[in-house]
Subunit: 188 residues, 2 copies
DNA sequence: GCTAAAAACGTCAGTCTCTGACGCCAAAGA
DNA sequence: TCTTTGGCGTCAGAGACTGACGTTTTTAGC
């Protein structure tokens, strides 16, 4: 029974995902997760802030990658094209983790408490993108709107990609942003 | 001590808002709210699904009004203009309840648990708008994107309206949608 | 290889949220 | 006046977290 810290964390994640998919999120006490991982309930809360948090581990990684990608976009590019380019940079990350995240998204989709947390994580991403845009010199007033709209477009693209695996995520992204442009063009 | 049901509900809401603004949301047990309202903790949960839910009572009213407004928009209008028109219909509702909702939004802004619930409520609104758009014959595939983007634009407008009360909400709305059009026009 | 600091874990006690079951009492209708 | 219904109180309990403290393991320095 190793005690290296990271091993415990991974055992907790595996145990939680198994129990969640078997009995559901709400019907799985933290005590059961800890027991399957060979650890105490108290240790669970030393690795994760709360029960929901363990389902959203890759979010910080995605956020850092995204912020870095926005900063790396060529100067002079308008906000939405810049964000679209940044999202394209994250495609490999999604394609690589696809089989791993699939049971997670299904769990989130059918658990209201997890949907709330998912939306909160998305809001954190939007805030980070807003700061990244402002760092590029984008109008501080319009930066939040651009970041939010781009994030929604990205979310639509990934959602479609989950349901229709045949179309590459790159194409889903371009398609979604194209629809955004067309819809907005009808405004004036 | 009346026992009419609705009176208890209102006393609970008043007591909660007072205690929340005084000690904060997390530092206010449900037991204290019920005590100030002259009832038991159990009665609180007979009126509200959970502790957060009492802060979001007007959401269903807003949703119904919004769905109805989308349905009432003239035929042939494109999704985003239709949604913009529908949002304009809700302006009186916001202007009327402004002093009442002000302490609520401040509380939500500084309480992560309430932000999560707020985002969840917004997602419900987006789903309702998506259905309303589809009922108008909008492309079922693009309806979610339009509803989401319009909701974000509306949120930006109301947010600015809260901070700069001098500019009417109608103008904030038009301004935000104008920025959306300009930002999206730079995409192709 | 030995020892001391630091990190990880266990144990215990406790608060708070939320739920089910049961009984009581007031109000509305026959 | 009697019955029914709905709102409420009481009780018991599960589950999510947190703080405090002691113990064990790992790491670092000699």
């Amino acid at each position: 029974m190793p005690r290296s810290g990271e091993a415990v964390r991974q055992r907790l994640q595996r145990a939680a995902l198994e129990l969640f998919t078997e009995h559901g999120f709400d019907q799985t006490p933290v005590e059961a997760i800890a027991a399957r991982a060979g650890v105490t309930e108290r240790t669970f809360y030393r690795h994760f802030a709360d029960k929901r948090e363990m389902l959203f581990d890759g979010e910080t990684e995605l956020r850092d990658l995204l912020v870095q990608a926005v900063a790396a976009v060529p100067h002079g590019m308008k906000p939405l094209p810049a964000l679209r380019a940044a999202f394209h940079e994250t495609v490999p990350l999604f394609e690589r983790n696809r089989p791993l995240t699939e049971p997670g998204v299904r769990l989130i989709a059918e658990t209201p408490a997890l949907q709330e947390r998912s939306l909160a994580k998305r809001a954190l991403l939007v805030n980070a993108l807003t700061d990244a845009l402002r760092a590029r010199g984008v109008n501080p007033r319009t930066a939040p709107l651009c970041a939010q709209v781009a994030m929604d477009t990205f979310a639509v693209a990934t959602h479609r990609w989950m349901q229709e695996p045949s179309v590459p995520l790159h194409d889903q992204l371009d398609q979604a942003f194209r629809e955004l442009r067309l819809a907005a063009a009808a405004l004036k």
